[in-house]
């Protein structure tokens, strides 16, 4: 079966790292930043061999799955209609130094990924790849073996999409761990115990359990 094309929006630290893992796992990969493709062409060619640079509009058209790896304060620059019916993986976090403090990105009512889902109302949003630092993502990926893998946590509401993301996480060299509905994704946000974590499966499960109890209190 041919692998779906992954389109990564964001050619920064995370976008490039995800692109590297996707290429190693033999996915067709496109990467876009905010400007013209030429601006990142050389970067993509050298840092992510086998991937191609596009403008975000072009990339959204041709990719099967989109990963959002842009600053959280920037996703609303992306035309939500273009992403209609696509699977959108939200890897974004609130980072006050980048995103500022004047806008609310997550609160008791709505987690950041739920807001992203509201914005991309005609797409299916799954939260993944957000809680691990970009060095760890590259250093801890184990594509050759299933032993001693670290877990990456996934939250989403649509079974079929979750399955797809689980497959990607597995191909990238991690154990996918589904933590339930998209709103549960709040336990992976900045400042939560799981944020920044790169742990084995058992330890992750334990922390997920505790974190979920915490938010239900």
């Amino acid at each position: 079966m041919t692998k779906p094309m992954i389109g990564i929006l964001g050619a920064g630290k995370l976008g490039i790292s995800l692109g590297q893992l996707a290429r190693q796992a033999d996915y067709p990969v496109g990467i876009a930043a905010s400007g013209p493709a030429e601006k990142i062409e050389l970067t993509v060619e050298i840092l992510v061999p086998g991937a191609k640079a596009y403008t975000s509009e072009e990339l959204i058209q041709i990719a099967d799955i989109i990963i959002l790896a842009v600053p959280l304060s920037k996703y609303q620059q992306i035309d939500s209609l273009l992403l209609q019916d696509k699977l959108v993986i939200d890897a974004m976090n609130y980072w006050w130094e980048v995103d500022g403090t004047d806008q609310v990105f997550s609160d008791k009512e709505l987690s950041s990924s739920e807001r992203v889902q509201q914005y991309f109302e005609k797409s299916i949003v799954v939260k993944a790849f957000n809680h691990i630092g970009y060095h760890d993502l590259v250093d801890h990926a184990k594509q050759g073996t299933k032993e001693n893998r670290k877990a990456l946590l996934i939250a989403g509401d649509d079974k079929k999409s979750i399955d797809q993301v689980e497959k990607i996480v597995d191909d990238f060299g991690f154990i996918p761990l589904n933590i339930g509905q998209l709103k549960n994704g709040v336990i992976l946000e900045t400042g939560r115990p799981l944020f920044g974590a790169s742990l084995g499966l058992e330890e992750s499960k334990e922390m997920v359990k505790r974190s979920l109890e915490e938010i239900r209190k």
């Binding site: 920064g12 630290k13 990142i40 050389l42 970067t43 980048v98 500022g100 630092g133 250093d139 944020f195």
Partner: protein, 347 residues
Amino acid sequence: MDVNQLKFGLDTFGDVAVDHSGKQISYEESIRNIAKEGQLAEEVGVDVFALGEHHRKEYSISSPEIILAALASVTERITLGTAVTVLSSDDPIRLYQRFATLNALSNGRSQVMIGRGSFTESFELFGYDLKDYNELFEEKVALFDKLVKGGPVTSNGRFTPHLENMEVYPKMTEKKLDVQVGVGGTPESVVRAARYGYPLMLAIIGGNPIRFKPYIELYKQSAKKFGNPIQPVGMHSHGVIAETDEEAIERAWKYIVPAMNKIGLERGWGPMSREAFENEIENGSFYVGSPETVAKRMAKVIKEMGIERFDLVYGINGQRQEERFQTIELFGKEVIPRVKEILKEGN
């Protein structure tokens, strides 16, 4: 690789040391000690002494050039640099003037490493908006670059004065200013350094450094594309050196880890595990151990990365003054010669 061309540097952010009771010494004392550290670095044969610029409680250096100017008059050989100067929140014209002055006082031994910095306090302090992070840097590098190249300057920016054929003094007539660009993990910054034709320093603070190797290729290819000469590439990482591995590891655990965790807390990630710490020492970005251990790791990384400069960031998180001195001394007297020896054997 020409081992004799390799440069070794010591960098500090100006962490205020602690006394025997664990209390921070005064800022004044810290600043005077750092000047002594620079002198010691020259004495033990280090090539570059570079200071950070911070505006936070735990650091005493917010004006690195003043300490460097004091050092200019008591040293003869060592390069006096910054790592990094936060250009985004600085005034490029005054920055040029400060370094032109330092360059004169040091007989051309000054070096400025411009970067965006990893902290953001300076934005609020000097009245800048973090939203303009990229634009500020881009515009100021452009102006600073014109000043360094010399000649009358014409510039019309959003954040810098409107200048029409303006001359800025003092001119550097003997030796041009040595400008370097310090970058973290952002590929765009690598391309920018190549676009201006400045040497590149990679700040590698965590994870396997080899991951950055493609960045060096990106830098070289970009320089070619822009028609600029390919300048040297270096890296800097944290380290602690002591007589024995055990001592150094204990010290690193005591100082480096809490410092990282403190930043983590501010930014929202969790504490570093012992396992992650040990990984950093073994294959990652902490250079911790006896001189022999550190030299071996450094030699390996220098060779694999193909870099021409390695700076060790010493004295993180208020170590005791004698511990700061010890890392400097062992680095200069034992690690540097040993790294060269290992690399020569391997050639």
